[in-house]
Amino acid sequence: MVASVATVDGVFRALSDPTRRDVIARLTRRPESVSALAEPFDMALPSLMQHLGVLESSGLIRSTKTGRVRTYRLVPKRLQVAEHWLAAQRDLWEHRMDQFESFANSMEGEQ
């Protein structure tokens, strides 16, 4: 339970930064090398590596090294953690609004 909350925490922290979200968005299309990922960013390589490190430790992405090229790919299952968290919030509010609807409709004819 604690581990799972830490997991969610890590995923959301990883996703809380626009550069990291951009990396995720690009990796949803295909795996990319570090140099390909760095290309569109006006940012020093160590900074980008730091972002990639945060993403990798959250479990959202994984990297493999072939020769001198490190390639990053998405771990789609981990991205679902964020979706599931919000889905659970949604369940709560849907449930609450269902109860509101029943209650409000029962007020018909009341003062």
Binding site: K77, R78, D91, M97, F100, E101, F103, A104, E110
Partner: protein, 160 residues
């Protein structure tokens, strides 16, 4: 999509839920703002609300006690931010009554009512903190029904 004035809907951490009810905005408003009404439906079942206190003005208190079937009670205190009678209600747990910052703030809710003929469209937007401090909610175990969330997560996480 705009969640509230000046705030952009963030699909990662916000959600919107709508219902059309067969009553006037005036009655729907009462359902949200009269404590005797709120306690009848606001708790996520099977929880119930054993106390509810409402001071309906900006900075006023929205406090309730959630009671679980096992008897565990959790008081939740929020602060109203906007009160536009019959139209719009905004509250948060990020501030305590009188706008004092809270330690545990987690969400802001924006509830709007719009007449639709004889009925009323009720829209609730819940905006959540962008997740840098979620461990705290695990410590609390149950927070305004969010405990259900964590339970579901606990059930889900081992399958990852």
């Amino acid at each position: 999509m705009t969640a509230t004035d000046g705030s952009t809907f963030d699909p990662l951490v916000d959600l919107m839920v709508e219902r059309v009810v067969r009553v006037s905005p005036e009655r729907a408003w009462a359902a949200w703002t009269n404590p005797d009404h709120v306690r009848q439906w606001y708790a996520p079942a099977p929880g119930t609300i054993s106390e509810c206190e409402i001071d309906l003005r900006p900075g006023g208190v929205f406090r309730f006690v959630l009671r679980q079937p096992n008897g565990v009670e959790n008081p939740i205190t929020c602060c109203y931010l906007e009160v536009v009678t019959h139209r719009r209600l905004v509250w948060t747990d990020a501030l305590m009554p009188g706008y004092r910052p809270s330690q545990t703030g987690f969400f802001t809710a924006v509830m709007t009512l719009e007449p639709r003929g004889d009925a009323t469209l009720c829209t609730t937007v819940a905006m959540h903190r962008d997740a840098t401090d979620r461990n705290h909610h695990a410590d609390m175990g149950f927070h305004d029904g969010w405990g259900t969330v964590l339970d579901q997560l606990g059930a889900y996480a081992p399958t990852m």
